[in-house]
């Protein structure tokens, strides 16, 4: 027993010393660096382990129709855009600076998850990442999440027209709304460009 505790203490001491060495080397634990392959592997394994039995094999009960996709598109543009971008690329200010960064959901790492896994992640989030759990237990909420699963499958086929329609539904500050209106007036020929101040955010 004594040797067991000594072993555990030694492992902890080595882990702490390794961490301190990393910090002192100047690498630190900045969230601006991309996660290491080891971190990515651990995170994926932990996510898989966190899935309760049966969640993976659940089938999507919502029919995939143009109406379903239109609803999910509007929902995504309002709730998911800030981190995942309209096209699921994760190419947004928040998405790129999260740790780990928001993934490109059009790639196999996401697309190879089952519908049940995607639904579980939307509902419950992923611990130690920026992904919140959106589930509130209501039937309506579950339906919305299943519709989003259909939309995630559709991401790689998203058309330019769909993206443009989503841009109009993205959350905007009063300044951004004003900017957008000024630009539209300018493009229609109603204002001269001297009237448009320089903008630096989006």
């Amino acid at each position: 027993m004594r040797w067991f505790f000594l072993g555990v203490l030694s492992v902890c001491a080595v882990a702490i010393l390794t961490g301190l060495a990393l910090v002192r080397q100047g690498r630190g634990f900045s969230a601006l660096e991309p996660p290491t392959p080891m971190e990515r592997w651990i995170a994926r394994e932990a996510r898989a382990l966190a899935l309760p039995a049966g969640a993976k094999s659940r089938l999507n009960p919502i029919e995939n129709s143009p109406e379903t996709l239109a609803e999910a598109r509007a929902h995504w543009a309002d709730h998911c855009y800030s981190c995942h971008a309209n096209d699921g690329s994760g190419d947004t200010v928040l998405g790129k600076h999260l740790y780990p960064p928001a993934p490109d959901m059009r790639l196999p790492a996401t697309q190879e998850l089952t519908d049940g896994e995607l639904f579980y992640i939307i509902q419950n989030g992923i611990r130690l990442t920026g992904m919140p759990g959106w589930g509130n237990g209501s039937e309506r909420d579950s339906e919305d999440s299943w519709k989003l699963v259909h939309f995630i499958r559709h991401l790689s086929q998203l058309t330019l027209e769909e993206r443009k329609a989503m841009e109009k539904m993205n959350p905007k500050s009063p300044d951004e709304l004003r900017e957008e209106q000024e630009e539209e007036r300018f493009l229609r020929g109603e204002d001269s460009h001297e009237a448009i101040p320089e903008h630096h955010h989006h």
Binding site: V93, K164, H193, E194, H201, H202
Partner: protein, 102 residues
């Protein structure tokens, strides 16, 4: 002592947040097309001519529909989104409007 710690933590958070938002957005170049040569679009803005590069990923639209680089004729009004802080100005998107009449 606790007060000092809270002030330091809040300052650090604010400094970090400011840095993130200063680096991630788009700069909007608003003006009229002067010319498009070798994938470099020159836009006449209120502050003078501004060159931006177009690449294969640049999204060109008119009325939210796909358009072509050939539509970027001299005198046409455009709003170009360029990632803020980039050394080489590569356009993320170009919105085309009406032509200026002279």
């Amino acid at each position: 002592m606790k007060q000092y710690r809270n002030i330091i933590i809040t300052s650090l958070l604010l400094a970090f947040a400011a840095q993130v938002f200063a680096h991630g957005g788009f700069e909007h170049v608003t003006g009229t097309v002067v010319k498009l040569e070798n994938n470099v679009l020159t836009v006449k803005t209120a502050k003078g001519d501004s060159p931006v590069t177009l690449d294969a990923k640049t999204e060109i639209t008119r009325d939210d529909r796909p358009a072509q680089a050939a539509d970027l004729k001299a005198g046409v009004r455009v709003v170009v989104d360029v990632p803020e802080g980039s050394k080489v100005k590569v356009a993320h998107s170009v919105k085309i409007g009406v032509a200026n009449h002279k």
